[in-house]
Symmetry: C2
Subunit: 137 residues, 2 copies
């Protein structure tokens, strides 16, 4: 299951990408437009800022805005920040590899073999989609 955090994060990014200009948008406006708990959204936007996707401006007329063009924001990067590893098991993860403690040999592991294919399929989707591809004009 996709976490609410990821879901809300994607919706917020899409909303920002659909703005005409790159003027800051207030948290409250994003939250109400996308039906998201404002406080929860705050923490999500904060993590997107800390990872370089968003910029923020304080004070009157402040808010959040995209730091790059939507078509330069890859879904692989967004998903890794919001949802974590793309792989379903650590032993097939590119960025978060870990050996399974219960598995004697990855080369003969049925789970490993299947999850490797699943990972590749998912990666392929995320690599070929940018934030711009999610916007429906």
């Amino acid at each position: 299951m996709l976490s609410k955090k990821t879901k809300y994060g994607l919706k917020a990014l899409s909303f920002l990408a659909s703005q005409k200009d790159k003027k800051p948008v207030q948290i409250a406006e994003i939250a109400s437009h996308e039906n998201i708990s404002q406080k929860f959204l705050e923490s999500i936007l904060l993590s997107l800022r800390k990872t370089g996707f968003l910029g923020s401006k304080k004070g009157k007329g402040g808010g959040y805005y995209l730091l790059k063009n939507a078509d330069e924001i890859l879904m692989t990067d967004v998903m890794r920040v919001l949802e974590g590893p793309i792989a379903m098991v650590p032993c097939v993860s590119l960025n978060f590899y870990e050996k399974c403690d219960d598995c004697p040999d990855e080369n003969t592991c049925a789970v490993n073999k299947l999850m490797l294919k699943v990972r590749d399929a998912n990666l392929s989707v995320y690599r070929h989609n940018t934030l711009a591809d999610l916007i429906i004009t």
Copy 2:
């Protein structure tokens, strides 16, 4: 993340599929060979029996065995029983569809659009792999 239930279930199925004949294998033997808590494995095998993947035999010489050939067991079916819906959000699920209560319109939803592609990619993997494909001789 893949749940332990699914992981263990896949390992147990693979172990059964790798047997020379279709004689019943005891829970204890599967558990020790695959490093799985025996009691936990019991409940998993039980659910696989109730969903028609396994047969069981009681008494001495009893155990679990595959009801079909490994190449007739599709990963889509196995995954749906063990892990649940393949889709990451209910609004793109084929077998477990549900409308998102926070989303006014699926047709313009960025999350929906992306997760539809992800679902198709995953389905494609699971549909083209059977239990036989997981076995490394």
